[in-house]
Every structure is written in C-alpha cells, then in structure tokens.
C-alpha cells in the first residue's frame, strides 16, 4: 500500500529563530561608506532566520511530500510526463553552462551558440519547418510568438482585416488565450462525432477575416485529425495560416511532420516531447518553427552559422521581426537538456519513442475499455493519449472524475488530467508515455477497475479519497473564498482571529 510522507512541516517563517545564520558571504573589497538617503533606507525586513542544516531539512521534508515522474507513473494527459534522463541534468549543470553571461562576446560562447544552432537543425528536420526561434520560455509563450508572427505576416501584406483566429473546441486553453493576447478575435468551432474538426463548420468559419487556425494534431483527445490535408486546404484557400500546437509530438515523431501536413507555424514544448524535466510547473521551453516565407518575422536574435569561418553568431538584423517575447535567447539550460536527449535518441530512437508511446496508450485504452462506469467516446484508435469519460459512473454512483483521480493517488499513482478537453464530460485524459513498463500499465488499469468496483459498492470510499497522501482532500472553495496567498496575509488574519490553521 502506498503511503506518502505526512510531515507536519511548518512554514519556513515559523521555523525562524532570531540570530541564526544560514549564509556565508565574502567580505567587501573595501569598507567604503555609502549613504542611502534616509527616506529610501530599508526599515522592516521580516525574513526567517535559519541555519543551513535547518533549511536543508525543511526542503527535503517538503520534497518528500511531492510526487514526480521518478516516484511513479504520472500519466497526466497533454503533459507528457516521461522519464527525464539524468545525463541531461549532468550536462545542463556543467559550469560551462551555468557561468556564462548572455552578453559575452560571441567568440567566448561558441559552445553555447553551437548548441542552439544544432538544436535548431534537429527541430527543423523533426517538424519539417525551415527556421526556429528558441526564445520562448514555455508552450504558451511559444503560442504567443507564433500568433504574433501570423499577425505580422498579414499586416505586412496589408491584410489588416484578418483579425480572426479559429480554434477548435477541443483546443488547449492557452490557444484562445494566446490568440486573444495577440489581439485576435477567437472563433471557436465544434468537433464532430468522431472527435475531429468538423469540416463543414470550418468551411463556414473561414472568410477574408481569417488570420489562421490553431490546431493540435493528434488533438487533445489523442485522435489524429485524418482530414488534416483537407483542413489545410480550406484554411490556406481562405488566405489563413495554419498553426500547430506542438505541446506534444510524442504521437507522431518519426512518422509524420507538421510541416508536411501543411502547417506554417509550430511551437514545440521541449519539456514534454524532448524530455526536459517539468520542475513543478517550469522552467520549460517552447521553440517556434516557421516555414521559409515567415522567417523574417521571427523574434531577434536568431542563431546563424558562418560555415566558411566555422563561427556561430547572433543575428539581430531582422527588420520585420515581431521583437522579443522573452529576455535574451530563451531558457538555455533547458535547450542543453533537449539537445543531449536528441543526440542519445537519434533517428531510430525518436521513432521508437512515438511507436512505444502510441502502443502504450492504445494498450491501456483496450485494457480499460468496457470497464463499468468508464466510457470511451469518439473513435478508438488513439495516438499518444486517450480520453475516457466517467460520466456513466457519475450518473450511476455519484462518483465523479475528480473522485477517481483522488482515489488513484491512494495507490501511489498520479491522476490523469481531468475535466479536459472540455468536450468530454467527466474527462479522464490519460497519457502513459513511452517510458512506463507493461506492469505499470497493467497496474494502472487494475486500479482504475478497482475504483470502478468501489464506486458501485462503496462510493463513499472513493468520494472521501485520498487517504494515503500527505493531506486529505483539499478545500479549494475555501482557498478562493478567503484567499491566503502569503505569510503576511496569514499573520494579519491570525491577529484578527479569522483563521484557525
């Protein structure tokens, strides 16, 4: 039986003891007196005071109350929680990565520039695009970059009326949010019964106002959009561009490329497909690739290679560039990890990644299918992920997808993504990835089946889950109703006697 550590670990502020020291700093070069004007001098500074061993114990205990890919199966749909090879960490932690400044003379950072340039070459071939920027810090930052490029392209051609971005109803929430941020009006189109883009709805949605279509393929249901070539034709005919949300390439690596499917712009989440760790929510990296006719709009700088002089350099000379979407050149240490991974995997390895990822997802689909309470809407063949619905279970027992998720935690398994995509009620979006074992998959299915039995025999057990985690079911309604965001707020409430935790 799984048991997560349950430390009653206080906040670091509550561990503070006046006078304790957790730092060691060098002496100043010279004891020069510098006077800060009185009105600008720091007065109160209520930081905790702890020694180094106390700090280390505190965060070690906290880590013991956290679950990562290394702890067990983490099939969070759309997030591609694959194993992160440790060699990636070793290379990324190299002093030659850590101790270089982004404004160093190019001659002193040839290694860094070569890594960026090489990574771009890999990504170009993997996606079928012609040029990349590595600047975006995450998928959403990449999406913003991509839609800004689409915007710049239309404006440059004087097509100022193209202010509509089409997004399927199964899209990631970031798609409409990124399009809106770039100033587009978002047009949502419904999916058909198969879970794919409804071609008729798309035909009706495109017009001379269409800037583009943002699409994930395989989509968020894990279903490959079979009509992709037709979709591309419709959008292009209307004068729009096709944007590929490459949050996840695990379902197509080495099989088919977005560039060949007709996509003009793509972002790739390196922290998903290319195995850089997710860090509890970041840092990630979201490079953006474009077809040749869009390369002038990329953010500055791009990395170039002067073959004659065997020299890598940064090129800021892109007069039509959209500007910058992040300071400097992107999350460099993440880029290093991705390139390390690519070099190890290589051509055949990458293809095997998608083959096994897709095999695992379909294996789980078939093994779970038919279990009481879970339903498999839309077509059966999936790519890297599958979305089940717990709607029947909810109707028949009152046990919701949320409860199923929480009960999974009791078995030392991370829950799937739940309640997404929005078009599936009580959605359980499962993405096993290629790095799980057959036993992992069998166990996951076994537990989901067991939960189904519990739901029909003892629903309260599932509804009151989890039982074996660091804390029990968390009250998120209270969290929103009476926000306590910081220690400062907590203290104020405590003084007023308005909080009892």
């Amino acid at each position: 039986m799984y048991r997560q550590a349950k430390w009653d670990e206080p906040l670091i502020f509550e561990l503070s003891k006046p006078g304790r020291v957790g730092f060691s700093l060098p002496d100043p070069i010279e004891d020069v007196e510098v006077d800060i004007p009185e009105k600008l001098k720091r007065k109160k500074l209520e930081l905790p005071e702890l020694s180094e061993p106390e700090v280390v114990r505190h965060y070690t205990r906290l880590s013991e109350m956290n679950y990562g890919v290394d702890s067990g199966m983490y099939p969070l749909g759309s997030c591609t929680m694959k194993y992160n090879p440790k060699i990636n960490e070793e290379i990324a932690g190299h002093p030659k990565v850590a101790f270089i400044h982004p404004y160093q003379d190019e001659r002193t950072v040839q290694g860094a520039l070569q890594i960026m340039w090489e990574l771009e070459q890999w990504l170009k071939e993997i996606t079928g695009m012609d040029r990349f920027t590595l600047q975006p810090a995450a998928g959403a930052n990449g999406e913003f970059t991509g839609v800004m490029i689409i915007r710049a392209y239309h404006l440059d051609r004087g097509e100022t009326q193209r202010n509509e971005m089409i997004v399927p109803d199964s899209a990631h929430g970031t798609n409409p949010a990124s399009a809106a941020m770039a100033g587009f009006k978002v047009i949502e189109i419904p999916s058909n019964e198969q879970g794919m883009v409804d071609l008729e709805a798309l035909e009706n949605a495109v017009s001379e106002r269409t800037a583009g279509l943002m699409l994930t393929n395989p989509n968020t249901l894990g279903i490959f959009e079979e009509d992709i070539l037709e979709i591309a034709k419709i959008v292009h005919k209307a004068g729009g561009l096709l944007y590929y949300d490459g949050a996840n390439l695990n379902g197509i690596l080495g099989k088919v490329r977005p560039g060949d499917m007709g996509f003009d712009v793509i972002h790739v989440n390196l922290h998903k497909t290319f195995s850089t760790p997710h860090g509890g929510g970041g840092p990630g990296a979201g490079p953006v690739g474009v077809k040749d006719f869009l390369k002038d709009y990329l953010p500055v700088p791009v990395v170039e290679y002067d073959e004659e002089n065997n020299r890598y350099y940064l090129n800021y000379d892109l007069p039509k560039s959209i500007g910058k979407v992040k300071e400097f050149y992107g999350n460099f240490a993440v880029l290093v990890r991705a390139l390390t991974y690519l070099k190890i995997m290589g051509k055949s390895g990458l293809k095997e990644v998608s083959e096994i990822a897709v095999l695992n997802a379909n294996y789980l689909t078939q093994k779970l299918k038919g279990t009481r309470g879970y339903e498999l809407p839309h077509k059966e063949l999936r790519k890297h992920e599958v979305v089940f619905s717990a709607e029947p279970m909810k109707k028949e027992t009152g046990v919701k997808a949320l409860d199923v998720a929480k009960r999974l935690l009791d078995h030392g398994l991370h829950a799937p993504t739940i309640y997404f995509p929005l078009i599936v009620h009580e959605a359980l979006m499962i993405e096993p990835t290629e790095t799980v074992t057959k036993e992992d998959l069998d166990y996951y299915v076994e537990v989901l089946k067991k939960i189904s039995e519990e739901a029909y025999s003892n629903p309260e057990l599932v509804k009151s889950a989890p039982h074996n985690t660091a804390v029990r079911r968390v009250d998120d309604v209270l969290a929103a109703k009476r926000p306590v965001i910081t220690w400062r707020m907590y203290k104020q409430l405590k003084e007023k006697g308005e909080i009892d935790i």
């Binding site: 109350m65 509890g280 910081t486």
Partner: protein
C-alpha cells in the same frame, strides 16, 4: 539508441497481440500515407559518447570563472550556495509538473507559497504570484494588467530601460494596441520628473526601476509614484531584489504593482535563462482579479489540517480561455523555489549584508574606474556603473579580451547620445584583483591609443 528509456520495446509484439493489432503500422493507419516521412537525422549514440561530445562543445565556452567579467546590464554573476542546487535537484521537485493534484503535491505547493511569502516580505505587498517567465515578460504583463484595470492604453516607462525589456514590452502590448511612452532621464541619470508630468495624462501605468538601467538609485521614486497616482495611473516598480536588504520595500514607497527578477537569487546565469519574473500587487480585489499567472493559497483539508492549493484560477487560461488575464500556463516554478531557498538561507542579516557588500564593491569600483574614465552620472550605484571613454569602446573591448578580461556592455548601439559608454557591473563575487587587472589594462590601452 535510447533503448534504455523504453522498457516496452521488449514487449512490443506481445502487447500488440494482446490488443488485437498486427503491427505497429496499424497503430498509425490513420496518418495519410502521402505525407509520412522518414527522418533524415543522425543515429543515436551511447550516453558516454554524448557526454564526451557535449563536453567538447561546451569546452568552447569561456566562463566568468576563467576570465574576469564586468558584464551586468540585467544579468549578474552571483554566487549560489551549493545546498540550493542540491535541494532543487531532488527529483520529487525536479520531475513533478504543475501541482494540479494538490494532495500529492504539497511539497511543491508549500515551497511556492513560501516563495510568494518571501517575495511579499521583500517587496512590501501582500499578493505575489508563483512566477512569470522573467522580469521582461513580467513588465509586459504589468502593462497589459494596468490597461485592463484602468481601461486606458498608455504605459509610461523610463527611456533608460534595458533594450531587452523594451523589446519584450513592445511585443507584449502590440496585440492590445497599447502605446508605450518613453520619458527621458535628467542630468543625474534619473527619471526627469517634469517630463514625466507631461506624459502621465491618460496613462494606465507609470513604471520605474530600482536601481535603474544605469545602476543608479532613483532618489525621487516616491514622487514618481505620486505623479502616477495623481494621473490615476497604476504605479509599477521594477526591482532587482538583491537591493531590498538596504533599500525600502517598493510597497512602502507607494507601488501598486512590483515586478522584478527572482533568479538573481538561487540561480546561475545560464546564458540568460531560465529566470523567473516577480509579480506582486497590493491586496486589492480590483488588482487581484486582473493579475496574471498562477497563485498558491493556504487552505485546509477535510481533517482541518493546513494545506496548500492553486487558487483564484478563474483568471487563468484553462478556465477563462480567450478572456483569461494572460495565456501563461507553465511558469518558472523550480527557479522560484531555488530563489526561495537562497532567500531563506540569507535571512534578514544575509540580505542586508549582501546589499551592503554590493554597494561597497560598486563604490570601490567607481573610485578605481574614475582613474581612467569618466562617469557621466553622479549618484549611488548598485552593481551597474555607466562608464564613458574617449577611446572608441570597441577598441577597448577588443584589447581587454586579448588580455583575458571581459569588459562591460556597450550601450552606444542603443543609446547613441551617451557616446562611447559601457555599463560595467560588479557584485559580491567581484574580486579586488579583477578590478586591479582591469584598471591596469585600461591604462595601457588608453596610453597606446594616445600614441
């Protein structure tokens, strides 16, 4: 290669058979044949081969440990205590994702709550999010938020702003059609208050930095805030948090929103990324509702025990979609946790001491560099110092590099009015010998140029 990461390669046929598929190809039967593509890529290599190869590539970099460097201008060489790196590499933190399942992710949630809390103490505001991508994108988001809160679309910033931040800001607000107004500096290299007054009408927000791009402490920061508030604009302060042990919290100086760079604590330079943007606001519902990014809150579990959870999510993209306050999803959680661990280790004494050391080292550097160059602005510098030369700076840069010294950041391409100037920076890591070596080298270079 990479078979070591793919356990089910060994069970491929067995698994296919079990689910009634004849081959892997059948799993891809929905992909149009005419666009299928075989990668034209190198084959994979062993871990050792790649280890060697990456080391050889990286060997072409020269680090600031191998060459005294005076680069700053928004990225600084700070020392990160070893335990910070060890702790964030705990794989329970490193290999987790966004804590969607709160009950099994209390460690990361509490660590991020503590990050928010530590930053709140530093900046003097109650509400802090769990990080933006970096300071620059935080600035872009602050401008967009100011526009949403005030329903105005002009954002006023100093002309003395880093070129990186200018470009990020301009890109971020382009879609919303916002106007960015740049206000000049005065003879002291600080924001010109008279010019600010002329620009503030109809502004959604006014932005100032502490210290400013020239490394100078803006003495009139309180007055700038008053001018902003008189103009019914939000007062946004950007801060290098390493100064906050010695300089008053921006929240106490009137800031409505504080942004900055959290990665100056706990994280190495990494060629400019990853970093983590600070984003904080006053405890005002109008501001909180418009805030971008994830927020962690304290609540309780069904047993009444203290627990943490992502909260106020109705602002975010996964719920509000096109109407979200920002598109941000993944942030820089681990960078923020590293910053929190470093800050918790520094404590009030350490942070004050760190600020004093940097201030003293900067003052020492100014005295020494003024032996060989002009300092156009007189004031209190923290890290960066604007240095003006008579010799063209590209020559100086070149000759310094030959002597294995990396000079400052040449700013003429971005601020031609400042002539042959560069920003030189020092921190607590700068050694006396490095400065000595620099001054000697500069004297030689200037003497040679004079011949």
């Amino acid at each position: 290669m990479g078979k070591q990461y793919l356990p089910n390669l060994a069970h491929k046929d067995e698994m296919l058979k079990e689910i009634g598929f004849g081959s892997i190809d059948e799993l891809f039967s929905d992909v149009p044949k005419e666009v299928m593509h075989e990668f034209n890529l190198p084959e994979g290599k062993s871990e050792y081969d790649v280890f060697l190869e990456m080391n050889q590539i990286l060997d072409k970099n020269k680090t600031v440990l191998e060459m005294p460097s005076f680069l700053g201008a928004g990225t600084y060489f700070h020392y990160v205590p070893a335990h910070v790196k060890y702790l964030i590499e705990r794989s329970e933190f490193l290999t987790a994702y966004t804590p969607y399942q709160a009950e099994i992710s209390q460690g990361m949630l509490q660590a991020l709550f503590e990050y928010q809390s530590l930053i709140a103490e530093l900046v003097g505001l109650e509400i802090v999010n769990a990080s933006m991508y970096d300071w620059g994108t935080a600035l872009g988001e602050a401008a967009l938020m100011a526009a949403r809160v005030t329903k105005k679309n002009k954002f006023v910033v100093p002309k003395h702003l880093s070129p990186e931040k200018k470009k990020v800001l301009e890109t971020y607000v382009a879609g919303a059609g916002m106007e960015i107004v740049y206000v000049d500096w005065n003879e002291k290299g600080q924001l010109d208050l008279e010019k600010l007054k002329e620009s503030v009408e109809n502004a959604a927000g006014v932005y100032i930095e502490m210290p400013n791009f020239f490394g100078l402490i803006e003495e009139n920061i309180v007055e700038v805030g008053e001018i902003a508030h008189d103009g019914k604009a939000l007062f946004v302060v950007g801060v290098d948090p390493t100064i906050l042990g010695i300089v008053e919290a921006p929240g106490e100086l009137g800031a409505d929103v504080v942004i900055g760079e959290a990665a100056f604590f706990g994280n190495p330079m990494n060629f400019g990324g990853p970093r983590a943007g600070i984003f904080a606001t006053k405890n005002d519902k109008k501001l909180i509702r418009q805030m971008p990014g994830r927020i962690i809150g304290m609540t309780k579990d069904t047993d009444g025990k203290r627990a943490f959870v992502m909260t106020l999510q109705t602002r975010e993209q996964h719920i509000r979609r096109a109407k979200a306050t920002s598109n941000i999803c993944s942030n820089e959680a681990l960078v923020a946790v590293a910053a929190a661990i470093h800050l918790a280790s520094l404590g009030p004494q350490g942070l004050r001491k760190l600020g004093e050391i940097i201030l003293k080292n900067t003052a020492y550097f100014k005295r020494r560099i003024s032996e060989v160059a002009e300092l156009p602005f007189d004031g209190i510098n923290f890290k960066d110092v604007l240095v003006q030369f008579e010799v063209p700076y590209d020559i100086i840069h070149e000759r310094l590099l030959e002597k294995n010294i990396h000079g400052g950041y040449y700013i003429k391409p971005h601020f031609p009015e400042l002539g042959e100037s560069a920003l030189f920076a020092v921190t607590e890591t700068t050694r006396k010998e490095w400065i000595e070596k620099l001054i000697v080298a500069l004297k030689e270079i200037i003497a040679e140029a004079g011949l």
